[in-house]
């Protein structure tokens, strides 16, 4: 009992102490309030009773996006906009309709402003239209007495001078969404006129490009009209972002691709991973997004079967077809299943169980070694290699060369592609792997899928001697040293030799793609990716080879290449959707792009005559 009394006494004592502490702390808070609200109140009460200080955030100019040579790919142009303050406008609808008689203003735009007016404070100016012509500005100025609450204002508008050529890379800017506001506490995002990067570089480097807001303290009267600026802190303008991209090359690639309905090309520096061109056709004009997109145009872009909104270089996933054979070859060489001299007989088809797997050459290639199998793209050879090493060894090799996973490119929306394994099939379909699927996989068909970017990276890693370069649109200032993909020099040399034969060999599948530049050779590989399974009936009629089947059922044409062969600098991958044959549709485009690249960078390419003769007699 005494103990109970003791703890009650202790509790009461301490409760009184806590109570005292609370009173003291509240006293301190009252003191603080007194200091702020009474003593320092004069500081803020200097202004006349119906005046107030308005702090306005100043939107900093957005950083420019430059190409590797410093050409501006995205910049800001001054623009005039007309805004309206509801508080002063009287009947808002009427005022806007009067305004519509002076400048072009769609009923939709008027409705949008009226809708905005319901959520904004009465004294906040709302933008009615941007990008006014000088003519329109003067017309509004002249009629300003009849337009209460209408104010003219100048600002900066994002401009993309090269339009659709770069829209997939640069992306565009747009109004801040609510989700973006919640994710990012930057007060700039609260401003109705602020524009945020929505896709492409504009999005991935938004924080760099954005800069920091400035602050203008202005004295405003009771109706919100500015009386004078008290002081002004300039913000920090956004930083410029320099891409590794070369504008001239990009334009060339885009123009070269437009002969096709849907195609894409990637040019990459095999030593740094810097992307020199990234073109996807068809494209769209980013300007149509900055001013707000009409519903009709949006539906049209979205539903177009050629997918203009999609950057096919990083989002398009295609079966790599024969361009994948390098991976199968390396898997074979590295596991010891084949050597340089291993010969395999190609009778035109092989059977496995009840299934029959065909070579593209009906009567077969006869007995053939690796270099010639690559040169002539013999399917049977790689069926056999695939059969010997198994799908998991091929998948391992493909993964090391950048296939089957995202490459952390500094552009949003990259797709992972797909490199199947036994475990993957089990997990996805709950079925075990079939032997025949290994064969199909060995020639880059079936489940295998890769993006043009991945194929370019694969080629770059082959050409640079097995260094795991990562693709970048903006090269980091201090890149970490590259790790090796872990493939022996000898195996790589052999595969590269096969790729050289594709272009320069007597029976190469892409002989017409030779560069015809003195002293510079190229290595490449054609690929034709089946879109539709070839049925027995098709095969019997020969229909699968004809060009009269519908466009969307035709095969995709692929080509990957690197040059100069002696000392590789650049890798190119081209995919022509439904282009039928890699050799005829994709290779000539890749050749032209490579030629242009070499021409543009000829000053940086060391003369290699000595090594060319040393390696040049391999055929």
């Amino acid at each position: 009992m005494q103990q109970e009394a003791e703890r009650v006494r202790s509790f009461t004592r301490r409760a009184l102490f806590v109570g005292g502490a609370q009173v003291v702390l509240f006293g301190a808070l009252v003191g603080r309030l007194y200091h702020l609200q009474v003593q320092r109140s004069a500081e803020y009460s200097l202004l006349a009773e119906d005046n107030r200080i308005d702090q306005r955030l100043l939107i900093p100019p957005r950083g420019r996006i430059l190409d590797r040579n410093g050409v501006a790919l995205a910049s800001n142009v001054p623009t005039y906009r007309v805004r309206v303050v509801r508080e002063q406008a009287g009947d808002l609808r009427e005022t806007l309709q009067r305004l519509a008689q002076l400048i072009s203003l769609t009923p939709e735009q008027i409705e949008a402003v009226l809708a905005e007016a319901r959520t904004r404070r009465a004294f906040m100016p709302m933008t009615v239209r941007e990008d006014l012509s000088w003519d329109e500005v003067s017309r509004i100025a002249v009629h300003s007495p009849e337009l209460p609450g209408v104010v003219l204002d100048s600002g900066l508008l994002r401009q993309y001078p090269y339009g659709e050529v770069l829209s997939h890379v640069l992306g565009y800017v747009g109004a801040v969404s609510q989700a973006e506001q919640q994710r990012d506490p930057d007060p700039l995002l609260q401003l109705p006129d602020f524009r945020i990067g929505k896709s492409g570089i504009e999005r991935s480097y938004d924080k760099v490009l954005r800069g920091r807001a400035g602050l203008s303290r202005v004295e405003v009267n009771a109706i919100g009209r500015e009386i004078r600026e008290l002081d002004r802190t300039e913000g920090e303008p956004g930083e410029d972002v320099q891409l590794s991209l070369d504008l001239e090359l990009q334009r060339f690639c885009f123009a070269r691709l437009t002969s096709e309905l849907a195609a894409s090309a990637v040019v990459i520096d095999v030593r740094t991973g810097g992307i020199l061109a990234l073109a996807s056709v068809p494209s769209y004009d980013p300007a149509s997004f900055t001013g707000g997109l009409s519903r009709r145009l949006w539906t049209e872009l979205r539903d177009n079967p050629r997918h203009p909104l999609v950057n096919k270089c990083i989002r398009g996933q295609y079966p790599p077809g024969s361009t994948f054979k390098m991976m199968t070859a390396l898997a074979g060489l590295e596991s010891g299943a084949i050597t340089e001299t291993t010969r395999i007989f190609c009778p035109g088809s092989v059977s496995l169980g009840t299934a029959r797997f065909y070579c593209w050459k009906e009567h077969g290639h006869g007995s053939i070694n690796l270099v010639n199998a690559l040169e002539q793209s013999c399917d049977c050879y790689f069926y056999e290699v695939a059969r010997r090493v198994g799908v998991d060894a091929i998948a391992d090799m493909a993964n090391r060369f950048g296939l089957g996973h995202r490459l952390d490119l500094d552009l949003p929306g990259e797709q992972p592609g797909l490199i199947p394994t036994r475990a993957w099939k089990k997990a996805t379909f709950r079925q075990s792997w079939q032997k025949g699927e290994t064969l199909v996989c060995g020639i880059g068909q079936g489940y295998v899928a890769a993006t043009p970017l991945q194929l370019a990276v694969m080629t770059a890693r082959l050409a640079n001697g097995g260094l795991a370069v990562k693709p970048r649109v903006v090269l980091p200032k201090d890149a970490p040293p590259l790790s090796s993909v872990g493939v022996s020099r000898a195996s790589l040399e052999l595969v590269l030799r096969g790729m050289r034969e594709v272009v320069h060999g007597a029976r190469g599948t892409a002989r017409q793609a030779a560069l015809n530049l003195p002293g510079i050779e190229m290595g490449g590989k054609t690929g034709t990716a089946q879109v539709r399974r070839i049925s027995k009936a098709d095969r019997a009629s020969g229909r699968h080879k004809r060009e009269d089947i519908p466009w969307e059922e035709r095969d995709h044409a692929l080509f990957v290449c690197f040059a100069p062969y002696a000392s590789p600098r650049f890798a190119v991958s081209v995919i022509v959707e439904h282009g039928l044959h890699g050799a005829s549709a994709a290779a000539p485009i890749a050749r032209d792009i490579m030629k242009k690249t070499l021409e543009l960078f000829k000053d940086t390419i060391e003369p290699q005559t000595a090594t060319v003769t040393e390696r040049g007699n391999a055929s």
């Binding site: 009992m1 509240f26 808070l29 007060p187």
Partner: protein
């Protein structure tokens, strides 16, 4: 120590009528007044409109105040009995939130149960008090002198603090640590122990600093020198001080706070509601609200001191401390005394979770008061 069974006093169960009579109506009235002030401020924050905030706030008051009375009418031995269970449940929820955060790779404080979202770290503020009160209910002062006896209690505090810290939610973690420590103090733990632990903690601060997130460090920097970053994190504090200062002695009048009405004041409906009040109602209004809160706190202390059993005492003082922490942190924050940590002002700020926490803990306080004459045995075998 000999655990002598306390004399059992034959106690008559209270009837509902008696219970209602014993409810601390003055305290409830004070809460209602504060809540109505909150309603008025949210009406003003909505630009003189019931939507989007004021009507919901009113709705919450209308639901929560009766719930508070409901909690008070339940036999306090029931709350004692479920104390550990409730605490354990909230710990599980906290772990769940952390795991979800791990999966979503980001800060996660909410648990979406489909129908409602709950924030377990808020519930923990009540659960911790209940669990500690339950633990120390059996403890005489002799027990609290033994380190071994204190160890489970310290763990009870540190486990949720750790779980909340990894969310990461520094503000709530500190709140839990402070209220838990205050509970130990009230249970009778010797002062020198706090001094020693405090000194050790002070020595550990550099380590904590190193483990802080960038945004948390930024908040501390900004607090130390708000003018250095007037547009980033310092923006809130500067705007809040301007609003307070320009409010002056009598304020700018209801619906006439230019800072708030012109939207310079961020989060005026939640964390900065007090600023808006001080701008529109002036020093007079701000001090009035502070005094109302102080009155609630003092009434709560009276309840804690006049209650017969240790569990009730501790739960009651816990509720007082909780409320005090909310008010003290929020007002210190908006007046620029401490960094912005995102703690709302109870009953005035818009938002459901903080109000729910407060309702439950003050409900327990009222419950303690209703059962003020009930002696609960130290080792309740059959409650």
């Amino acid at each position: 120590m000999i655990a002598s069974p306390p004399p059992r006093i034959r106690q008559r169960e209270l009837s509902l009528g008696e219970k209602l009579q014993w409810v601390n109506w003055p305290l409830l009235a004070l809460l209602l007044v504060i809540g109505l002030i909150g309603y008025a401020m949210l009406y003003s924050a909505g630009g003189g409109s019931h939507s989007p905030w004021a009507w919901k706030h009113g709705l919450r008051l209308a639901v929560f105040l009766p719930v508070m009375v409901g909690i008070a009418l339940v036999d306090i031995r029931f709350w004692l009995k479920i104390s550990y269970l409730f605490y354990g449940l909230v710990v599980v929820l906290l772990v769940g939130v952390d795991v979800l955060g791990e999966i979503n790779k980001g800060a996660q404080r909410w648990l979406d149960l489909g129908v409602i979202q709950i924030q377990p770290s808020e519930l923990m503020k009540v659960a911790l008090i209940m669990a500690l009160a339950r633990y120390f209910h059996t403890a005489y002062l002799d027990d609290t002198r033994r380190i071994l006896f204190l160890l489970p209690a310290v763990l009870m505090i540190l486990v949720p603090v750790g779980l909340v810290l990894v969310q990461p939610d520094l503000g709530t973690a500190v709140t839990l640590l402070v209220s838990g420590t205050a509970m130990l103090f009230m249970a009778g733990v010797r002062i020198w122990k706090f001094v020693v632990v405090g000194a050790l903690g002070g020595a550990a601060l550099p380590v904590l600093w190193a483990k802080m997130h960038d945004y948390q460090r930024q908040r501390v920097y900004t607090f130390l020198d708000p003018e250095s970053d007037p547009l980033g994190s310092g923006y809130h504090i500067i705007q809040s001080k301007i609003a307070l200062g320009s409010g002056g002695f009598w304020g700018k009048g209801f619906l006439h706070g230019t800072q708030a009405q012109l939207s310079f004041l961020p989060e005026k409906q939640t964390d900065f509601a007090f600023t808006m009040l001080a701008e529109e109602m002036g020093f007079v209004g701000a001090v009035t609200v502070l005094m109302l809160f102080l009155a609630v706190l003092m009434l709560g202390l009276v309840v804690a001191v006049r209650t017969a059993s240790q569990y009730s005492r501790l739960v009651a003082i816990g509720a007082v401390i909780n409320l005090f922490i909310y008010v003290a942190i929020n007002v210190s924050m908006v007046t620029g005394l401490i960094p912005v940590v995102g703690v709302p002002l109870p009953l005035i700020s818009y938002g459901g979770t903080a109000m729910l926490t407060l309702v439950v803990s003050l409900g327990l306080l009222l419950c303690a008061d209703v059962h003020r004459n009930l002696v609960i045995p130290r080792f309740p075998s059959n409650l």
